[in-house]
Structures are given as structure tokens and as C-alpha cells.
Symmetry: C2
Subunit: 212 residues, 2 copies
């Protein structure tokens, strides 16, 4: 599958690229096409797989599925730029807007979720929320074996299945269905919760597993 | 430490009693003192430790710390009965009010948390929230080794430390500090989230671990 990492030149994008490259064609996107191409070249050498790079709009047009590897503060104008090339495609939002209140990390939106905003702008894409709780630093350390669960919200079983397939194509990550986009606030809120637990207990790069 | 399980004749109470008995004096409480005594006798034989049983008010008076092993629907009148004997003592609330909206489990309170209600009634106790995400059936299967994390909310490091000590006295359970009681809604909300993940993915008796 051709998977585009929109805004994929950061640490999270690096990790996703390295872990997806074994079984997908990875495309790195950036506002700055040259930056994306240079990063793609570097990651191609590192991963021994061909990774391409170009502007966000170009990779959005070339991919089958896109992951929004963008910072937590969402810029609707940015989404509008890529809405047309992403029509009909799977779009995965790992975005969590994070604020701080009284020294505690919180979901920064007063209500609703980042993915519902994404879905309202990318109204003709098949939007899922996932990958919120994977620590970027751990992901980007490609020598490191991982064993994480990834909760996925999607408005249909079909979109869930597509998203789960992309996620499960990475070693050591198990997708779990967690409801529709209207349930996503609770899923996105796990990230500030995990950050608080990490800070209060002097732990780093925490993620979660669902165990029996 | 003398630990009372208020309303402790159910499955969760049974599991807690069996797992606490190795390093604590466990007291089973119930509205019905005879029922509590019979259950205590049964669990004493099962655990090879002396477990006592009596009315909720009596065990509340005898204990150093109390765990509210009561059903998820909170009855303030019930709390008022045990408020006086619990003055100055550690009280642990694992209570999560759970509702169902559009087929999805949700935190049943419109705002705030069960533990904040508990703390407002037991205003002279040292109240912590914890133990929300341990599956009762797994806990009660005392032959079963467990490996779970338990998030704890408490309004001071001192109350957290006391609560963590009780929790860590059980094999296979790691306490983690998760904030004050005003952060507890997010912690209590993990239970409906876990129930949804279990249901949607055909898994049973799920709990969580924080992993790196």
C-alpha cells in the first residue's frame, strides 16, 4: 500500500516511515518539498527501502492512505490544501491537541475531538483516529522492538479494517477497535493521561497495552 | 495493616480479600453482618489466613483503611452510615458509575467523578481513587498470577503513598500516581473505555498496563 506521511519530517514521521517501509511504499510529505526529499533519501538509506518525498499536496495525490503526522495544533487551512487529493482515501489522524491546566496535561479542546475536525474538513475522505499513544522517540528508534496497542476509532467496520491493516503492517503494534469518531475524544484523551502518569511517576516514553 | 472491604461480599471483594490477605488483616463488611461472617469464614479457609467479617459500620470502625467494594451506583445514604467510623482513615474508591449511550459504555455522571462525591460525604477521611480497571473475575481467581497497573488519584503525595502501599501489598499490581481527585474523572473513564474495547474486539476481562 502507498502510505503518505503528511508533515512527516518530524520524529513521529521518521518512526512511522521506518516501521511502515518493510511492507508499504512510504511517501514523506512536507510543506517544503526539498526538505521532504532530503528526509526521504536519508530514511531510504537507513531502512534499505525506497522512500519517496515531496510536498504534502503531491504525496496526498499519490498515496492510497495518508497519516497526518502533523503537530498537535491543527491548522484547518492546512487540511483544506490536501482535501482534494485525499478524496476517497483513508486518512488516519493521530492528532491530539494538548493543553496544560494547573500543571496537568489535558485535551485542549473544550469538547469534541481533533479527528472530528479533520473529518469535517476532509468530508470526502475515509477518516479514522489512531496512533495517539505511541511515543515518537521509541518509534523512531528503529532498532528497538516494540509491543504496543493502538486504539482505532472509525465510523464503519470497513474503515476500521483498512486502518487496522495499515497499523498491523508494522511489527509489534496491535490495532484494537474503540468506536466511532464520536467516541474519539476519550481515545485522544489517553495521551494527556499517559503524559501525566509519566511525569508524576518519573517514567519516560510510556504507552499502553490492554492485557488480561 | 487492617483493611476493610466495605460491601465486600461480591466478586471484586472476594478477589481483593484473597490477594490482600497474605500481608494484611482483611475485614469483610456487608449490610448483612451474618452474610459477611459466612463469606469471611469461606475466604479464611480458601486463603489460609484469618479473614474477619461483620457489618459495614463495624469493620469501618475496626480498620486502618477501607476499600469501597460497592456496586457502581453510589448511594450517599450508605456513605453517611460509615462516615463517622472512617474519620481520619484512608478510604479507597474503585467506584465507576457506568451508563450506556448508543450502545457504548460511558461514565454515567454528566461531570465530575464518583470519588469526588465520596470525598464530599467522607469529608474527614483521606480519600483516594484507585483499582477501577482490575477485572473482578480475574482478581477472584486467586490461582491466577496477575500483572496489572493501578492508577491512583489522591489530593496529596502522603495519601497517594498510603494508598500505593496497600495496593503494592498485592502481588502483581503496580500503583501509579495519576493526579488529584479533580483528575479522577479521566481515570474512572478508563473503565468504560476498556469495556468498549473488550466488547468491540471480542476480548474478555481486559485491564491495562503502562509500558515503554
Amino acid at each position: 500500500m502507498k502510505v503518505a506521511l503528511i508533515g512527516g519530517t518530524g520524529t513521529f514521521g521518521r518512526g512511522m516511515a521506518l516501521r511502515l517501509a518493510a511492507s508499504n511504499d512510504v511517501l514523506i510529505g512536507s510543506r517544503d518539498a526539498t526538505k521532504a526529499m532530503n528526509r526521504a533519501l536519508e530514511l531510504s538509506r537507513l531502512s534499505n527501502h525506497t522512500i519517496a518525498g515531496d510536498s504534502n499536496a503531491v504525496v496526498a495525490g499519490q498515496c492510497d492512505a495518508a497519516i497526518l503526522a502533523v503537530p498537535e495544533t491543527l491548522d484547518p487551512g492546512f487540511l483544506e490544501e490536501i482535501a482534494r487529493p485525499l478524496v476517497g482515501k483513508l486518512v488516519i489522524s493521530p492528532i491530539v491537541p494538548i493543553g496544560v491546566i494547573h500543571g496537568r496535561f489535558v485535551h485542549a479542546l473544550a469538547q469534541g475531538s481533533a479527528v472530528e475536525t479533520v473529518a469535517s474538513v476532509l468530508a470526502e475522505s475515509r477518516v479514522a483516529a489512531a496512533l495517539h499513544t505511541i511515543p515518537a522517540a521509541t518509534l523512531a528508534d528503529s532498532a528497538r522492538r516494540i509491543d504496543f496497542d493502538v486504539l482505532v476509532c472509525a465510523n464503519s467496520q470497513e474503515v476500521y479494517n483498512e486502518c487496522a491493516k495499515v497499523i498491523a503492517s508494522m511489527d509489534g503494534v496491535r490495532p484494537l477497535y474503540a468506536g466511532t469518531l464520536s467516541d474519539a475524544r476519550g481515545i485522544e484523551s489517553l495521551t494527556p493521561l499517559i503524559l501525566n502518569v509519566a511525569k508524576l511517576n518519573h517514567l519516560r516514553n510510556l504507552s499502553i497495552k490492554f492485557v488480561t
